[in-house]
């Protein structure tokens, strides 16, 4: 049963890996009775960049979001960047 559980966990990790662009692997130790089993936990980190162009000076804005879901990380990072650029545009223009 333990073997079946570990096999399933392993398959889930591979599916997640296939979807991710960048990932961090942390090992999580799960206590199961007297045995300890390490399972990898993956986070997806997405960084999106924008810029404020003043000619000889350019400001680079970056938003980095880390989430187990890549899709959610991308959406949150995009919202962060959009919000920052709109803030500048609103303040400046």
């Amino acid at each position: 049963m333990l073997a079946a559980f570990l096999t399933q966990a392993s398959e889930n990790v591979e599916k997640e890996t296939g979807k991710q662009k960048e990932h961090q692997i942390e090992n999580v130790t799960v206590a199961m009775g007297k045995s300890n089993v390490s399972l990898p936990v993956l986070d997806c980190s997405v960084t999106l960049k924008g810029k404020v162009d003043l000619g000889p000076i350019e400001a680079e804005i970056s938003c980095t979001v880390t989430d187990p879901s890549c899709e959610k990380a991308q959406v949150t990072a995009a919202a962060c960047l959009k919000s920052a650029l709109r803030l500048y545009a609103g303040v400046i223009m």
Binding site: V52, L54, P56, T64, A77, C80, L85, Y88
Partner: protein
């Protein structure tokens, strides 16, 4: 009486002619990549160096239609004219312009030709004029300049100069910024010196003041960004980060 009036008019005319300074405009064409070192945002520019006696005014203008505003992930606030510099060789003073977020002009003073040029034994022709090569380092970047010994003027595009001849071509080591002379014309009057002499008479801040202003400007925006992130999003873990990339080293 009639003759005296005519004589007076002639005297006034020739006096005015004597005091009217002729100007010479050196036209350059080139490019500038405003994402230097981080990507390619190269645009084509036309530039002019107006030489009026011992004073000159340089500026660059982007070719084509230039639209400001938010375009995709870029907030474009580039001024119409960039790298604008006024030089007064007689007093060895230089002014340069900076356009802020609201596209307001700020003028600062800078040192005239502090770069130490190394003359290189190479020559080439630019527009039919023999030019010699020099290399130097200025505000964090290496530059190559081709100057014409036959043009008795130590001026050049932007803040470059101090060579035994007019600089007809100049570029940085990575070719992010590159200007080449294309033609010269003579005009009766190039620019209003009074405006710039008035600026010189004011106690303008130097380059360090400019650097401090730029950092302060961006740090205020960073603070606004952080405040908005915290206020508008409960549980948000993301605060946009801001990094300044300046053509002239301001650290």
């Amino acid at each position: 009486m009639h003759n005296k009036i005519i004589q007076l008019i002639c005297i006034l005319f020739f006096t005015a002619k004597c005091f009217a300074q002729e100007s010479r405009i050196y036209f350059y064409q080139g490019k500038f990549n405003s994402s230097f070192g981080r990507g390619d945002n190269t645009r084509i520019f036309e530039a002019r160096l107006i030489v009026q006696g011992e004073r000159s005014l340089f500026t660059m203008k982007e070719e084509g239609i230039h639209e400001n505003g938010l375009q995709g992930n870029t907030l474009n606030l580039r001024p119409d004219s960039m790298f604008t510099v006024y030089k007064d060789h007689a007093s060895q003073t230089m002014l340069f312009e900076f356009s802020d977020f609201n596209q307001r002009s700020h003028w600062y003073a800078d040192t005239m030709f502090p770069m130490q040029w190394q003359l290189i034994a190479e020559e080439k022709m630019i527009g039919g004029i023999p030019c010699s090569k020099a290399v130097g380092f200025f505000k964090g970047r290496g530059y190559t300049a081709w100057y014409a010994p036959s043009v008795a003027n130590s001026d050049g595009p932007w803040k470059l100069g101090g060579l035994p001849g007019m600089i007809l071509e100049a570029y940085d080591d990575h070719d992010y910024w590159h200007l080449t002379w294309v033609s010269t014309i003579e005009v009766q009057r190039g620019f209003d010196e009074v405006f710039f002499q008035r600026k010189l008479n004011h106690d303008l801040q130097g380059f360090n003041g400019y650097a401090a202003y730029v950092k302060k400007m961006f740090s205020r925006l960073q603070a606004s960004m952080a405040a908005q992130s915290n206020a508008g999003c409960v549980g948000c873990q993301t605060v946009p980060q801001l990094k300044i990339n300046a053509w002239e080293k301001i650290d």
